[in-house]
Amino acid sequence: MLAVIFILLILTILSAWLKYRKLAITFFVLALVMSVILFYHHVSGHLTIHL
């Protein structure tokens, strides 16, 4: 899943470089949302183990 986030970031950089602003922001937001989901998954997993 982290690899997918990095792919989205690469797509964001390429879109911004080629001046596709809205596309860049879309990829960026997707990457950010996936990061939050992954972070939540990590935190909730640990909480389950500790509880």
Binding site: M1, L2, A3, V4, I5, F6, I7, L9, I10, T12, I13, L14, A16, W17, K19, R21, A24, I25, F28, A31, L32, S35, V36, L38, F39, H41, H42, V43, H46
Partner: protein, 182 residues
């Protein structure tokens, strides 16, 4: 013609980008030289730092806009939460730590300090209204440095992506990675 204010705000953005580049470069250096494989939370912090850079680079590419600063702030906030989570995991005595300390602090502690500083710095810089009404185009020097930053950020992100695939594949990363799976 480029105004002094335009140069100043471009310069401030560039300074912040270079600071974040240094962090990402040092993290990569630690991984390669000391063979310290980044944990999932460390990789997520790198994602956050790359996100900070992208927001600022969009300012240089498309001109300063509150939306770009917003992306930077969101990335910095996420990075600080992740770093804080990692600090919390190791804060209890006897729970150990991840990696070697640098100047007395572990990398995740530095990550928290830097992301919090980025939050503060960006919140101050975005408050200056004049930058949003500036006229494009910018000077050749700023354009050159913007292109250079794009090349560097692309290379850093690509290398981190390759390293992540080598370490975790396309699945969830192990909590305490000890070797590359490929």
């Amino acid at each position: 013609m480029e105004s002094t204010q335009q140069r100043l705000f471009s310069f401030l953005n560039l300074i912040e980008i270079l600071g974040i580049f240094t962090v990402l470069f040092l993290a990569g250096l630690f991984q390669l030289i000391y063979h310290e494989l980044p944990c999932p939370l460390c990789l997520l912090q790198r994602v956050g730092f790359i996100g900070i850079c992208i927001g600022l680079l969009m300012n240089l590419r498309f001109g300063p806009k509150p939306a770009h600063y917003s992306l930077t702030l969101l990335s910095a906030l996420l990075t600080s939460w992740i770093a804080l989570r990692q600090i919390a995991l190791h804060v209890v005595p006897g729970t150990g730590s991840y990696g070697d300390p640098v100047f007395g602090f572990h990398l995740y502690t530095w990550s928290f300090i830097l992301s919090t500083f980025t939050l503060l710095y960006t919140a101050i810089v975005l408050a200056f209204q004049q930058q949003y009404s500036m006229v494009r185009p910018v000077s050749k020097v700023i354009t050159f440095f913007t292109q250079l930053c794009f090349v560097l950020l692309f290379a850093i992100t690509l290398l981190n992506g390759i390293s992540t695939v080598l370490e975790c594949g396309f699945h969830y990363c192990p909590d305490n990675p000890t070797h590359y799976i490929f």
